[in-house]
């Protein structure tokens, strides 16, 4: 009988290969204005997404729990959701298709990092058995996905502002980029709030406190307040353009620290997460 881990990682490698092919075709299509190639890259990416989704589903069934604990499964599921939501959003807002230049590589890089870490699954401790945990994790992943899209837009805003705009015709006008960055940052802010709410309900259900000033909780709140500050400055102080993009990038870095690094720094009630 084949080791389930071999099937799991094998499927992931197939997905990585498909994503790399999609990225190459996508770059070619966008840079050289070949719409056919760009469309083809999306078909390959969707194929990768299906294989990747099958790998995650298989792992979920074998391990008996969702991708909440091990770095490999967390990064892989984050990558899946980033791409999945991007594919939906780019249909709703076709002008953001250029963000694939960041989203596609981010997807295979996240899985790649996961594959080089220990992919062995762990058993779910009793404190993590709650439907609220599922919501808690899912909404952080959705928030991350929208923030990655906003990051891609902010990066291209700065590039377009600083470089020759004539050579970046594939990008929408700067004013449009600015509005899209604002909108996706707003989505991220909302989903981050929902993730914190579901986490606090889970905490209350588990040990009678909705908030315990645990390091991960605290840094998550700091990140949320940071995004709140960014949105407030945009709305009421006319912060837009490059300085808003730079502030967003700083807030995004903070969100990465909260999601992936604070758990290493300090012991916490989230100690089972990302270890």
């Amino acid at each position: 009988m084949i080791d389930p881990l071999v099937i799991d990682t094998g499927l992931h490698w197939i997905a990585v290969v498909l994503y790399i092919i999609a990225t190459v075709i996508n770059c070619y299509g966008l840079v050289f204005h070949r719409q056919k190639a760009e469309r083809a890259s999306y078909r390959v990416a969707v194929a990768g997404l299906c294989v990747h989704g099958a790998a995650l589903l298989y792992r979920w069934i074998v391990s008996g729990h969702g991708p909440y604990i091990v770095k490999y499964e967390i990064l892989s599921s984050d990558a899946w959701l980033v791409l999945f939501l991007f594919l939906i959003f780019q249909r709703m807002y076709p002008k953001i298709r250029f963000a694939s230049l960041v989203v596609f590589p981010a997807t295979f890089l996240l899985i790649g990092i996961g594959l080089f870490l220990n992919p062995a699954s762990r058993k779910l401790p009793p404190s993590l058995r709650s439907i609220w945990l599922v919501f808690h994790v899912a909404f952080y992943k959705i928030a991350l996905a929208t923030l990655v899209i906003a990051l891609a837009i902010s990066i291209f805003f700065i590039i377009k502002k600083r470089k020759d705009p004539a050579r970046l015709k594939m990008l929408p006008p700067l004013s449009d980029l600015d509005v899209y960055a604002h909108r996706f940052a707003g989505f991220g802010f909302i989903f981050w709030a929902i993730a914190m709410l579901s986490g606090s309900i889970w905490a209350y259900q588990s040990w009678g406190r909705f908030w315990g000033w645990d390091p991960i909780e605290t840094w998550s709140l700091i990140t949320w307040l940071g995004f709140g500050l960014y949105l407030h400055l945009r709305r009421f102080f006319g912060w837009n353009g490059e300085r808003a993009a730079l502030l967003f990038m700083a807030c995004f870095a903070l969100s990465i620290v909260s999601l992936f690094f604070v758990s290493f720094v300090d012991s916490s009630i989230h100690s089972a997460y990302f270890r």
């Binding site: 807002y93 762990r122 058993k123 401790p125 009793p126 404190s127 058995r129 709650s130 004013s175 449009d176 509005v179 899209y180 604002h182 909108r183 707003g186 989505f187 802010f189 909302i190 709030a193 929902i194 914190m196 709410l197 606090s200 309900i201 209350y204 259900q205 588990s206 040990w207 009678g208 909705f210 908030w211 000033w213 390091p215 605290t218 840094w219 709140l221 700091i222 307040l225 940071g226 709140g228 500050l229 407030h232 400055l233 009421f236 102080f237």
Partner: protein
């Protein structure tokens, strides 16, 4: 000679100035930055309520020059410091006043005639009735009509996003304060069969500053602790059965598990994640004096690794060091035959060591120790609180508010009669660039006559 008449400020002008100050965008920005700074400070500096006294002492020793300032400004207990409370009250006041203003604005924008848009007015050759139908199909509702002007709005509820968000923040802060003031929490470590009576001491008690002492209304007995393990020895589930023993003595049993709390007489009872074995020891000295003791030690995480603890027994001047394996044969974690090893220590000198299973006796320096029985113990958390519903409702309102704001951007179409025809204009209150094509689409649907 010129006389200068100085106007004495009335209460109204003072209040207006305070209101303007609290509603000022700069004040709100400063408050957000200060709150953010406070949370960062609490995350960076060790806090008394999370760090142990030893950790605090180590930090103070390491940063001896700044430590006195650190304490003076309450940076070692940010969330209970006077300045943080002041900041929170100021923020709350600002939110309350802002909420009032936001609601007025939302009401006016939703039901008022609105401001005539500065954009283009386009003539359309349709009747008012057809315009109504077309607007309805495009998702625009008629929200006001004054004189010759009619206003249609898409997502009029989007106007209420800010109000909901502000109301949510007000509810969270108020409810958290109520919770912090009135919450009572008590921690118990009970072994199977142990009864905790009302008024017996807690292992740990945390009461809000307005709360009275936390007394259980009934006696509680822990009947059974049931740990379950995965095949790799990781804990799968921890459950227990407790009995509520009222004064008349007729006990009623309840089931508890991690993540499955119990509502009991206005309290919530949680099964903690800590559990282990309670060892019933009879210690006898050479003079025949006995020291019956119950020692509770946390459960080992692995079947071939012990867990450790140190303890003192009243009347014995030495320290006991204990370790135990969940199973004497080290074959399983779920065993009723653990192996306890005790070491008697005087300062750093070891006076004796013995290993015991149930029913065995051993010599430990000048003492004879018998392991009489072993039972499971587990931690139970009791909580009585008011305000939790407010906290969660507040969270919910913040999410609904921000959702309304970002997911339902408001767009308006104004129509006014001119001669025999109609002029219409469109505007979006937010993200107008995203909906630039909407007006053209509507005009196409209406069959536009031509732009002015």
């Amino acid at each position: 000679m010129v006389t200068v008449k100085q106007e004495i400020p009335t209460l109204f002008t003072v209040m207006s100035t305070i209101r303007r100050f609290l509603l000022s965008r700069s004040t709100i920005l400063a408050l957000i930055v200060l709150l953010l700074g406070a949370v960062v400070a609490a995350a960076v500096f060790p806090q008394r309520f999370t760090a142990s006294p030893q950790e605090m002492a180590r930090w103070q020793e390491k940063y001896a020059t700044v430590a006195p300032w650190f304490e003076r400004f309450g940076l070692d207990h940010v969330y209970t410091s006077a300045w943080f409370m002041g900041l929170l009250c100021l923020f709350l006041l600002s939110l309350l006043i802002s909420l009032h203003t936001q609601m007025q604005v939302a009401w006016r924008r939703t039901f008022g005639p609105g401001l005539e848009p500065a954009g283009q007015w386009v003539p359309v050759a349709v009747s008012e009735h057809s315009l109504h139908d077309a607007m309805g199909k495009a998702g625009f509702l008629r929200t006001s009509r004054s004189g010759a002007m009619t206003k249609f709005t898409k997502n009029p509820w989007g106007h209420w996003g800010n109000s909901f968000m502000h109301l949510g923040f007000v509810m969270i802060i108020c409810s958290s304060l109520v919770l912090a003031a009135t919450q009572k929490m008590g921690l118990l470590h009970l072994y199977e069969g142990e009864l905790h009576r009302p008024g017996d001491p807690w292992i740990l008690e945390e009461n809000g500053f307005l709360a009275t002492k936390f007394l259980l209304p009934v006696a509680i007995r822990l009947d059974k602790v049931q740990p379950e393990y995965w095949d790799n020895d990781a804990l799968r589930q921890l459950s227990s059965r407790i009995s509520v023993v009222p004064f008349d003595g007729r006990a009623r049993q309840y089931a508890l598990a991690v993540n499955q709390p119990l509502n009991l007489k206005k309290m919530r009872v949680y099964l903690g994640r800590e559990y282990g074995n309670a060892f019933f020891l009879d210690i006898e000295d050479s003079g025949g004096r006995t020291f019956p003791s119950i020692v509770q030690i946390s459960h080992p995480a692995e079947k071939d690794e012990p867990s450790y603890d140190n303890f003192h027994i009243e009347g014995i001047p030495f320290r006991f060091k204990a370790k135990y394996f969940a199973d004497a044969q080290k074959l399983t974690l779920n065993s009723s035959n653990p192996l306890l090893t005790l070491r008697l220590v005087d300062q750093d000198r070891v006076l004796g060591e013995t290993a015991l299973t149930i029913g065995q006796s051993g010599t430990l320096g000048p003492f004879t120790v018998t392991l009489r029985a072993v039972r499971h113990w587990s931690s139970l958390i009791f909580s009585e609180e008011h305000g939790m519903a407010g906290v969660f409702s507040g969270f919910f309102l913040v999410i609904v508010g921000s959702g309304l704001f970002y997911f339902f951007p408001v767009r308006e179409i104004y129509a006014k009669r001119e001669g025999n025809g109609l002029l219409i204009a469109w505007r979006a209150l937010r993200f107008s660039k995203l909906f630039a094509g909407e007006f053209d689409h509507i005009l196409q649907t209406l069959g536009k006559e031509g732009r002015t």
